[in-house]
Amino acid sequence: MKSGTCEVAMTATAADDMPLVQFTLRLADNALVLGHRLSEWCGHAPTLEEDIGLANIALDLIGQARALYTYAGTAEGRGRDEDKLAYLRDAPQYRNILLVEQPNGDFAATIVRQLLFAAFMAPFWRALSASKDATLAAIAAKAEKETAYHLRHAGEWLIRLGDGTEESHRRAQAALDEFWPYSGELFETDQVERALIKTGIVVDPATLKAEWDRTLDDILAEATLTRPAAGWMQTGGRSGRHSEHLGYILAELQFLQRAYPGASW
């Protein structure tokens, strides 16, 4: 236990000194946590078709997470591979935005959460595929195609939920209102990104805001949903301050490696 705490403290310091590692971990954590959330639908989705559809998206995200963790581990140079990074960091070391750790809720909530995220990630990956960092550019080029579909999938669903029955409209609007304050974190930057933006490795998320707005506005209009007013935004996940939900996700995600360290297939 003691040595574990020590490792955690050292790790945080090491990552803070390395913007590329920190940035890559944030992307990886977003992908893993959202992928895990979607995997919770497996066997529970409203239809068989959608059960498989959501699992597909979950697997895309977990695949992205694996590539990103592997790269973060290599860039860090401390011998941590994808498994160590995914399974042996506790909640405060996770750097995902709060949006992706929010519970699935009803189907409308899952779709809204996915749409807010994918509407940002689609242009983000497209821009990152021109990164001066060749590995990130390659990961981004693959993720771009996957994410374009995630956006289409969530968008088409939200249009039908919003413009569907009275109940589906009500649920979709409620989900939108609930998750909207979590969208601000998508566009945050701190010293980690700023260092990388300057060198052409990372795209400034502020430059993607107009496209995100347009994507959302088009879909919401067709869905007959009301865009929530701009207001106070949640923050904290990117620096390790999480909602209580992440702890439960990690408890499930990490159980095997915590209980049986080093266990493998």
């Binding site: 068989l48 498989i52 999938h153 088409e156």
Partner: protein, 96 residues
């Protein structure tokens, strides 16, 4: 979900490669054509099965009546000469 009334049935056809025909692979439920296309992609192309998808509303399929299979298909069974199996192919022709 009350099923088929709200989510009609669609037949899915996948073309695996250029030059091949679309082949029936199964069916699915979806609210409309766009959603059916997404579901077909999700359900039937996960293992790289295809390059193209066709969807047809199941109600648009005109099917032969199984009770008429005697009338429709049995007469063909006795016409073995319709198969091109009675020709000697000269060796020089090689693989046809």
């Amino acid at each position: 979900m009350t099923g088929e009334a709200k989510l009609p049935l669609w037949e899915v056809f996948i073309r695996a490669r250029n030059g091949l025909a679309h082949k029936h692979v199964g069916s699915l439920h979806a609210a409309d054509a766009k959603m059916a296309l997404q579901a077909a992609r999700d359900v039937y192309t996960r293992r790289g099965e295809g390059l193209s998808i066709w969807l047809v509303p199941s109600t648009a399929i005109v099917a032969s009546d199984p009770d008429e299979k005697g009338m429709l298909f049995e007469p063909a069974e006795s016409k073995i000469y319709r198969h091109p199996t009675f020709y000697e192919v000269p060796d020089e022709v090689g693989h046809m």
